[in-house]
């Protein structure tokens, strides 16, 4: 079976991957530039703060760099990287949960650099998100905020597609219940 021709963008990415695998750090910087925003979105969906998302992205890229030899260039680099970043984020979220177990939820879930943090609606959303399970929160953010499909979310988080679909449904229902009287607030 003949391979589909690669788009110029995919070709460029493959070139960068091959060059990075050959030890070219500038090429790896090119991969960072191409993927850091999406990687941040994946991490941010899992951890509770901007700072932790930054840490997760950095950890993810470092892991990816070390594992670059094992990456097969015919794979999608983005999907591979997002899985690594998601694992790094999950790791940070678990560590944070243990470390900050006795802190107030408001402190835990304060979004960094969010100018509307004081807003009542946002504050309630944050609290509602904090009551969601780690995985359900990640699923709803990846789906509703970042626009990933169920199968992609499953691949990123290492769960079956059906589980991602079910998590999304439950997360939405939970948030709807928690924020049910928002309409009357505004």
């Amino acid at each position: 079976m003949a391979d589909r021709p690669l788009s110029p963008d995919a070709l460029e990415e493959r070139y960068l991957v091959l060059a990075a695998q050959a030890g070219d750090n500038t090429a790896f910087a090119g991969l960072v530039r191409r993927h850091q925003r999406r990687a941040y979105a994946v991490a941010r969906a899992i951890v509770l703060s901007h700072d932790d998302a930054e840490d997760a992205v950095q950890e993810g890229f470092l892991h990816a760099f070390r594992a670059l030899e094992r990456f097969r260039p015919e794979q999608a680099f983005g999907a591979w990287l997002h899985r690594i970043v998601a694992n790094a984020a999950l790791d940070i979220a678990r560590r944070r949960k243990v470390r900050d177990a006795d802190e107030l939820p408001e402190t835990l879930s304060s979004p960094h650099r969010d100018p509307a943090e004081a807003d009542e609606l946002r504050a309630r959303l944050v609290r509602a998100l904090d009551t969601l399970g780690e995985r359900q929160r990640a699923v709803i953010v990846l789906h509703d905020v970042e626009g990933y499909k169920h199968a992609e979310i499953g691949a990123i988080l290492g769960i079956p597609e059906g589980t991602a679909r079910s998590d999304l449904h439950h997360a939405r229902a939970h948030l709807r219940r928690q924020l049910s009287n928002l309409r009357s607030v505004k």
Binding site: Q36, R37, A41, F61, L125, G147, K149
Partner: protein
Amino acid sequence: MNVTRNDDGQRPDADPRVTEMLRAHYAAPQDDAYWQGFESRLMQRLGASLSGAVQEFRPAWWSGFGEFRRTDWQKAGLVAATIALMAAGATFVREHRAVEEARHMAARRAVEAAMPLPIDDGTLSRRDKRDLPPDAPERFLELLDSY
């Protein structure tokens, strides 16, 4: 194969207002300068990690000893003692065989000197002696073999 489509937060179970709030809450930084700085910091960290990795993979030759724990030393000592014991045992067996061989050869030389003709190995072997007549003189050398 199931084909999934992101419903963009518009499905009946999705609340568009909650979706909108989520997007605002989780929005990634938009400023290009932020991302340039982030890339720069990441590559710096990568560089630091790489230099650390080089040191990690090129340790001084003696550094391995420092990593030995007490149990490691005990294991190493036990292995060394076992090897030394085996070597001593092998040396003892080899020397014992050499002494036996020397005594055997000395006795053989004494017998050969006392006889008019040299005795070859076939003469002294048990198989050949079984074929000898009962009164053959070589039978009196039986004692030499059990010596």
